[in-house]
Amino acid sequence: MSIKTQIITWGSLLVLGILASFFLPPYFCYLLGLMAVYSLASIGMNFLTGYTEQISLGNAAFFGVGAYVFGILQSLEVNSVLSIIAGAALSGIIAFIVGFLTIRVKDIYLAVGTLALPLLLLQVTKGMEITGGTGGLSVLPLVEQENASSVEVAIIIVIASIIGFVSTLIANSFIGRAFHATRLSEHGAVARGINVVKYKVLAFVLSAILTSISGSLYGVVVGYITPELFQVMVSVNFLIMAIVGGRGSIAGSLLGAAFLVLVPALFNVFGLAQWQQLGLGIGMGVTLLLFPSGLIGLISIVMKRRRVAVNESKPVAS
């Protein structure tokens, strides 16, 4: 896709999202906000797992850091944008260190290694005064007015769209290809002059920054944050979003976030509210079996050009 189509796509997503946040009923407006929030974490996880195949069970740490730094700074009346950036910066630094240390660690070993991060931060937040300890922290609303939650969701949509757009640019640039290259053949990448360490750490940092922003915005929509944000299941959810949506695809990441938020909602609407989690589990399994490359497969099946006949389009050596 050319840059022009990207701008159009993301621009229309943005406009639609803003319109929706003011016209949708509050419940769906909230879901829209959650989707936007989670899609950032999902993109973040995708840069790590989908692109460079570094599996992390530690992204909850960045989510939590983003949420807490934002929450604390908000209560100190720091500018909201600065608060988000501060969280992202801190997460980025942590990710840089961790990514660098664990550069030789792979697969499930990496997953377990990164697990250490949220487990440590969980204990730290529980023990600290400023984080509200085990009780958690109330996050001040971004705006104080009649339709505050719609405005908040609209703001989140704007932020998420811009970041989504930038992520797409990164993914389609040389950086994105280099990510793929490090995953598919390390020695091949090295022979093409790609610094594998650099790109792997970069993926880590990028992922952390996105997840952290997602965490900050989560604080905005939900209004209350707790040490539970550092639970393993939070990271697992990000993984689910990235994989069910589409490994190695930004658009897929959005679909993954939508899946995780909308499937339970769908069950509510059909009067099966008790069974939403069960539905989520089954839905996940079935989706993966039908579209192993993720929900994005649904789209690419329609779009992808396919070769049909025997070597038809090829010149014959003669």
Partner: protein, 248 residues
Amino acid sequence: MKANQLQVNQIQLNIGGVSILKDISFSLSEGERIGLVGPNGAGKTSVINCITQFEKRYKGEITFANKLLNKENPQDLPKYKIIRTFQNLGLFNELTVLDNFYIAAHQSFETNLKNLFTLEKNIKKEAQKLLENESIDLDDMISDLSYGQQKIVEFLCALIQRPSVLILDEPAAGLNDFEKSRMIEMILMKQRELNFSLLVVEHDVNFVSTLCQNVVVLQSGELLCTGCPEEVFQRKEVIQAWIGESNG
């Protein structure tokens, strides 16, 4: 000493107490084409790995244009335009042929703001030209290609990196005679354009004699002999070790 000369100076390689290379020295001048041959397990690939710094455990010196390469990392060699291919392929399987070209080309095509938007177009154009005579599409997934086709793509990816030293590890394995002669033509043509020097490992006697001005013969990690192919391939010890009597 000529500019852009690659010098391999007395390299030794021991891994796990086994001596793999013993005192190998040779040099590759600008524009020269050398064939590195020898029986299986002689250490040819190991020599390449040492030169390109994928193997770091060697002793000895490797210099390029009088600069010591020993301390460099393998990913830095493309900066010197020392480009290699792999015996067992180093392509990115789940990407398209075009993407593989993009990745290969990023080092050789200067990126700046001005050409940011035309860069990809230029790479694509060049890739298209390279693939002109092949039965390979730019949109083909690497994993959907036959082995020989993959070999060709890897070779072309190395070419698009605009090498000044091109190091090929068995580029013609799995190609038929026709493809081989085309590959030779391509190398010669590109060499006229870029004036690179070539180090090629290959088990096809014909291929080496047609392409190379000089050959270096290894056996059990030692330098057996060097010289021009016509002469070396007549030598008894080379026939005995590598070519075989019935092939002679």
